[in-house]
Every structure is written in C-alpha cells, then in structure tokens.
C-alpha cells in the first residue's frame, strides 16, 4: 500500500460522518421514495438551481483566483514592507466571519445606501446595484480571494530560496520571472485553492439569497434546506444533497485533470528578503495592488467595527448569556479545532509519506489524489442534512441533549479539516522529505517522534491550523442553529437571535466581539509559532 494505513483514518471518519447522516434519512424516506426521486429529477426548478449554483460558483472561483494572483505576487515581491505580516493575518479573517454579519457589512459599503456607493454617487457617477449576480460575486470574492492569496503564497514559500536569487541574478524581467519561476509554484497551490473555493461557493446560502435579489438566484443548498424544513421531504433532500456532492466531485475530477497537485497549502512564508531594485513604477504598482486588495478586505471589517462600537459593549460583556455563549463557543471551538488538526495532521503525514515513497518526484498516485480530494468533499454535504441524519440516529439510541455539543464540535471539526490540511501539508511534506529516513533509521517513532521531531518542526503550522480551525468554528452558525438547544448557545447563535428580535445594536456589538476574538487568536498563533524550528531554518 502506497499510503500508510493511518492516513485513511481521517477519510473514514469523514465518510462515516456523512454516511451516518445519509443512511438513517434514507431509511426513513425509503417507503415510496421512487416517485419522489422521479419527481425531483424532473423538476425544472432543481435543474435551474443546479445551473445557477455551478455558474456562480465557477465565476466566483475564477474571480477570486484572478484577483488573488496579482495580490499574491505583489505580496511575494514586496517581502520587506513593514505591514506585510499584518496584511497576511487580516487575510485569514473573512472566512471566520458569520455570513450574515459579512453580508450586512458589504451592503453597508456597496449597497443602495452604502458608504462607497454614496461617495461615488456624490461624484455624479452611477453606482451599479449589488443585488444580483454582481453582489453574490463581490461577497464571494471578499470571502475567498484572501484565502487564495494565502494558499498561493504558501505555494511560493515551497520554492527553494536559490530560485528567487538566481532569477534576480540572471536579470529576468517580471514577465519572465512570473512565467518561469513564480507561476510553476503558484499553479498547483491555486488549483488547490480553487477546489476549496468552488465548494464554499457551491454551498453558499445566506449570501446568495440575500444579495441575489430574487429567487432566480437560488442554489441547490436552498432547495435542500426547503426540502428538509418547510416541505419535510426527506427523500428529496437526500437526493439533492447527493446530486450536490456528485456534481462537485465531478468538477474536482475535471480540475485535477486540468492539472495541478492537491497537496499545495497555505503558509506564512518567511524568506529572507534581499535588495532588488524594482524600477520605481513596478514598485508603485505592486504597492498599489497590495493597498487595493487590503482595503477591499479590510473595509467590511471597518464597518463591523464602526457599527459594533456604537453598541453598549460593556453592558453586553456583563450579560450572563453573552459570557456563557463566549465560553461555549471557545470550548466547542477548541474541541473542534483539536479534532480537526488531529485529523488533518494524520492526513497530511499520510500524503507526505506517499510522496516520500515516490521520491517526491513524478505524479501523485490515484490513492493520494483520492485522499486529498475526498476529505474536502465533506464541505458540500449540507450541514442541515448531517445534523438531521445524526439527530435521527442519536435519538434512537441515546441522549440528544448530551450529544448536541459533541455533534456540533464534530461537524465543525469535519468542516475545518480541508483548511487545516492545506495549512499543514507543505510543512509536513518538507519535514518528511528531510527527516523521514533519519527518524526511521534512528527508530524514533510513535509519541517520541511526535514530541521530538514533528512538534518542533510543525509547531508554527500546527498552531496556525489550530487557530484557523478555531476561528472557522467560532464563526459557524449553520450546525448550531440546527442541532443546538438552549443549552448550547454560541456567539454567532446569539448574534442571529438578537437580530431576530429587533436587537440590531446588540448583534453589532457581538459581531465586533467575535471579530476581536478571531483577530487575537490569529495574532497569538503567529507570535507563538515564530520560534519553531521550521521558521529558524527557512
């Protein structure tokens, strides 16, 4: 077997999570499902939703990558400018923001009465409406462009330092350097980012409905939600969810054929900068790209801060419900993060071992590709389906109330695995490349290897993955809203609850608190990770 058996553990875990959701629902729906299936497959609404889902996801992915490339290249080129670390940290935040908070912030900027729209209109220029495809794409680029930038920079950081030096010494111009040096390292990373972004956009729900302007903008996820809630048509929900997974898997297969390895990841590259004289114009262009990209990502956060500061923050912090929601969020988030990182590490090491066995050359085997992609597919299994399916099973055999926190943490962990994996993969692979033989020769294995080799070398990546997974779980709403009871209230849940009872100010304050927490987390992860062995050697 090319891949250590242990690498299949995370995949099996995720598969079991999905199967555990689908099976009980399928059994429940089985009587008389034949007609339902025929009906669902013949429904033009389903096909229209599917088409729209794919079109918007493809466009969103393309645009996110399109904007990410210049920003990533500019950030790579300007390795010595002082705010770079801050920009990279900022770029982790959008995905951690609950969708509804982000959407309202985006509307506050680009909407009918948005700050930017009014500015543009006061200059006498018509600002186009964001309701419709444009708004959906705008929001998706906000969420995903920063992710793609981080992934692309991760790819670039796996480039040997000599390459960059050689390229400058050989006097390559920008175009030649991009084509012959940067692009070969960015491309696989971008392919990997593309698959993530595509999935995130396929399952987009709040963004698509709120900014879509009308039911013409409907994703399959909405149809699944409708089937499982108002219609309580389980057969249809399961079927549509399976269609969603299958279509995404197919899109992946096409993407893989189009080229690009899956294993590329996201890291904070720390290469020693050296003085290269950019011609002044290139320098200005690069800085301009960075500034525009940063302002685009930062602006919605400014809106969140602005609105949040108007709230009675000290009053909020004193509320028992807020405090307990904070604690619940952190505990569940931490559980989810630890589980996610554990699974992702196992997966990353398994993949790295497989790569080691083919000498880090040639093309990845089918099983490697399967590992990399299959683990990501969990992202397109709708959380409503997972929650409902597991509810049915647990209800039959145990205590739903006791299981709720565990289920919330588990599902959030599963959703964070694809991200954590991409954060860990590059470091795991380079560690394996350098030290695997040495460790085996010295018979350092098991926990000793984890403590003496893996942890010191991967500390930075592990902490980053932990913080990112925690941030993702903190911002998650979907799972909790479905599974949660009043015993398990998290911060995003509280935000939606306050919004749902006219308390917009409170919700804004809570969103600010959530943002601050996430930022603090990323800062912490970056700071404590800096001393790691990996950072020292690079």
């Amino acid at each position: 077997m090319a891949i250590g058996r242990i690498a299949w553990v995370p995949v099996l875990f995720l598969a079991a999570l999905a199967a555990g959701a689908f099976l009980p629902l399928a059994i429940m729906a089985l009587p008389g499902a034949g007609g339902e299936i025929a009906e669902a497959l013949g429904d033009p609404v389903v096909w229209r939703s599917l088409r729209f889902t794919l079109v918007q996801a493809l466009l969103s992915t393309g645009l996110s990558l399109g904007f990410a490339i210049p920003v990533a290249v500019a950030l790579h080129e300007m390795r010595d400018f002082p705010g770079r670390g801050l920009v990279l940290r900022l770029f982790v935040l959008p995905l951690a923001l609950p969708q509804i908070v982000a959407v309202l912030a985006i509307v506050g900027l680009y909407g009918e009465r948005g700050a930017l729209s009014r500015l543009v209109e006061s200059a006498g220029v018509d600002f186009p409406s964001i309701y419709g495809l444009a708004g959906i794409l705008l929001a998706h680029v906000f969420f995903n462009m920063p992710l793609a930038v981080r992934v692309a920079l991760g790819g670039l950081s796996s480039m040997p330092a000599e390459y960059d030096r050689l390229a400058h010494q050989l006097g390559m111009g920008f175009a030649a350097r991009f084509r012959h040096v940067l692009w070969p390292f960015m491309r696989p990373a971008l392919m990997s980012a593309a698959s993530l972004i595509f999935m995130l956009c396929v399952t987009s729900f709040t963004v698509v409905l709120t900014l879509g302007g009308g039911p013409r903008a409907t994703t399959l996820e909405v149809a699944i939600y409708q089937a499982l809630t108002f219609d309580f048509d389980i057969a249809r929900a399961v079927l549509l969810a399976l269609v969603q997974v299958a279509v995404t898997a197919f899109a992946f297969a096409m993407l893989t054929r189009a080229g690009g390895e899956v294993s590329a990841g996201l890291t904070l590259g720390a290469m020693r900068p050296f003085a290269t004289r950019r011609n002044a114009i290139a320098g200005i262009v690069a800085m301009l790209v960075i500034v525009v990209g940063t302002v685009f990502v930062a602006a919605p956060f400014v809106v969140v801060f602005w609105r949040g500061l108007a709230a009675d923050l000290s009053g909020l912090a004193a509320q028992a419900s807020v405090r307990s929601a904070l604690a619940t969020s952190l505990v569940l988030g931490a559980l989810a993060a630890v589980l996610a990182v554990g699974l992702a590490l196992t997966l990353a090491l398994g993949m790295a071992r497989a790569a080691a066995q083919r000498g880090f050359t040639g093309t990845p085997s089918a099983s490697e590709r399967l590992l990399g992609q299959a683990s990501s597919l969990i992202l397109v299994v709708p959380p409503v389906v997972i929650a409902a399916g597991w509810f049915v099973s647990i209800r039959r055999f145990g205590d739903v109330y006791g299981a709720a926190p565990i289920m919330v943490a588990t599902i959030n962990a599963a959703m964070a695995v694809p991200f954590a994996f991409r954060l860990l993969a590059p470091s795991a692979s380079s560690m394996m490349e350098r030290y695997d033989r040495l460790c085996r020769q010295l018979a350092i294995s098991g926990f000793a290897r984890l403590r003496l080799v893996t942890w010191p070398l991967l500390r930075r990546a592990l902490l980053l993955a932990l913080a990112f997974s925690l941030a993702l779980s903190l911002g998650d709403l979907g799972v909790i809203a479905i599974f949660g009871s009043q015993d398990v209230q998290t911060l995003p849940y509280l935000i939606l609850q306050r919004m749902g009872s006219y308390r917009t100010q409170d919700a804004a304050g809570l969103a600010l608190i959530l943002c601050l927490m996430t930022m603090a987390l990323m800062m912490f992860a970056d700071r404590t990770g800096v001393g790691s062995a990996e950072a020292r050697t690079s």
Partner: protein, 247 residues
C-alpha cells in the same frame, strides 16, 4: 565576449543578520581575473561574504567595490556576477537547455545564434545532447555542470561559487574543479570559491582568504597561507594535524 575582469574590494564591511546578532567584519581584496578561495570553519562567514558580494545581503557599514565602482547598494540583477549554489541551481520544471538558455535571455527569447551558443556551452561542460532532459534525470555532478554551462554563456566578469561541489564525491569533485579551472583559464573571470576543503583551494586557487568567527583573518597566496608549516596560528588550528602535507 566576457566583459573585462574586475577586481573586488571589501572595505571594512560590517554586517549582522539580526539586530541583536554578532557583527561580522570583512576586509579583503580579490585580484582581477584571479581565482580566490574562501576557507574557514563552518559559521565563519564564508557564505555571508559571497552573499554580500552578490548583493543578496546589504552591509550596514563599509563598501564593496568592483574596480572603481561602488557596488554596495547596487541591486542583484545589476551586478556583473554569476553564482553557483550547492543545490537548486536549476529550475526543476525547465529542461536542461532552457536552464542554460536563461543565461543568454532571461525571458527565453532565443535567436538561432543563441541556441548554438547554448549547445556549445553544454558541449564544453561535457553534456552535449543533454538539452532535452529535466534536472531530475541528472546526477548531482551533471546538474552542477549545467550550472557551469550557464556561467559560460552569461559571460559575466565575476563568478561566485558557494560550496558548489561540496556534495560530490572526491573523484567527481576533482573533475569539476578541473572543469572550473579550464573555464577560468578560458574566461579569466574574477572567481571566488567558498569551500571547506583546503585541497580544493590548493588545487586551483592562486590566492586564499581565511575567515574565522565572522571576520576575514588572513589572506595570501594559497601555497603559503595553507601551508601548515608557515601558516598563522588560527589557520593551523583550522587545518589540524591530518592536513599536514607530507614532508
């Protein structure tokens, strides 16, 4: 034609890697067209010195001159320098031919004349017919030959080698040193070679600069500087007993 060889001077160059780190000092000169070896214990600053000369690091005091020109702040791409690293000299995704051709045209826009130049250089390093291969298909020695072929086509007056042959076996290393010597003879580049094998220096370098503790300690003709009988105390300590020449 290769541009006329230039001399290189480091005038009281000061450098440190991080604000708190120990300061390194380099004060030395390299004759135009001559081959000089940089030797010294590991951590003595050999690689740092060539990085400074190549422009990958910038001194915070002192000056680096190529002939009369002050190069201290000139960016990497504008210095008339070729460099060969110990590893990763070739872009793994480009073919051997393209890797060499980058030395002629950094954007790989090649005339028929350029192509002939590249082929000739490959032939000169003993790799005629290897152009279509990928670096992964070559041995370590062959990869360094490709790097030398690129040095040939670049025609820069300065050549820096940072432990370029350190990972090769003794016989292969000698072969490569001889190849380097022949290229040097042909082109008369001002060549600076970092090595931790004194015998490398003795074999092909007319002069040697000795470094220790992040500073240049001594310089002179290789024959005398690395002769255990007459070398300064620090050099003798570095050479140790085993390197004593047979009487």
């Amino acid at each position: 034609m290769t541009e006329a060889a230039v001399s290189i001077r480091c005038d009281d160059v000061r450098f440190r890697y991080a604000p708190g780190a120990a300061e390194m000092r380099f004060d030395c000169a390299f004759q135009a067209g001559e081959m000089t070896a940089l030797v010294g214990p590991s951590g003595s600053g050999k690689s740092t010195l060539v990085s400074l000369i190549a422009g990958f690091e910038t001194p915070h005091a002192g000056a680096i001159r190529f002939g009369d020109r002050d190069m201290t702040r000139v960016p990497v791409s504008e210095r008339p320098v070729s460099m060969v690293f110990q590893d990763n000299n070739l872009f793994a995704h480009l073919r051997v031919f393209e890797n060499v051709a980058l030395g002629v045209s950094p954007s790989l826009r090649l005339t028929a004349q350029d192509r002939a130049t590249v082929e000739a250089a490959l032939e000169a390093v003993g790799l005629a017919g290897y152009g279509a291969r990928r670096p992964a298909e070559l041995s370590g020695g062959e990869r360094q030959r490709v790097a030398l072929a690129r040095v040939i086509v670049r025609r820069k007056p300065v050549l820096l080698l940072d432990e370029a042959f350190a990972s090769l076996g003794p016989a292969l290393r000698v072969e490569m040193l001889d190849l380097l010597a022949s290229i040097h003879e042909d082109r008369a580049m001002t060549t600076i070679m970092v090595t931790h094998f004194p015998e490398d220096a003795r074999r092909i370098a007319a002069r040697t600069v000795f470094l220790a503790d992040g500073a240049t300690m001594a310089e002179g003709p290789t024959d005398t500087l690395l002769d255990p009988d007459v070398a300064p105390e620090a050099v003798r300590a570095y050479l140790g007993q085993s390197d004593r020449r047979p009487a």
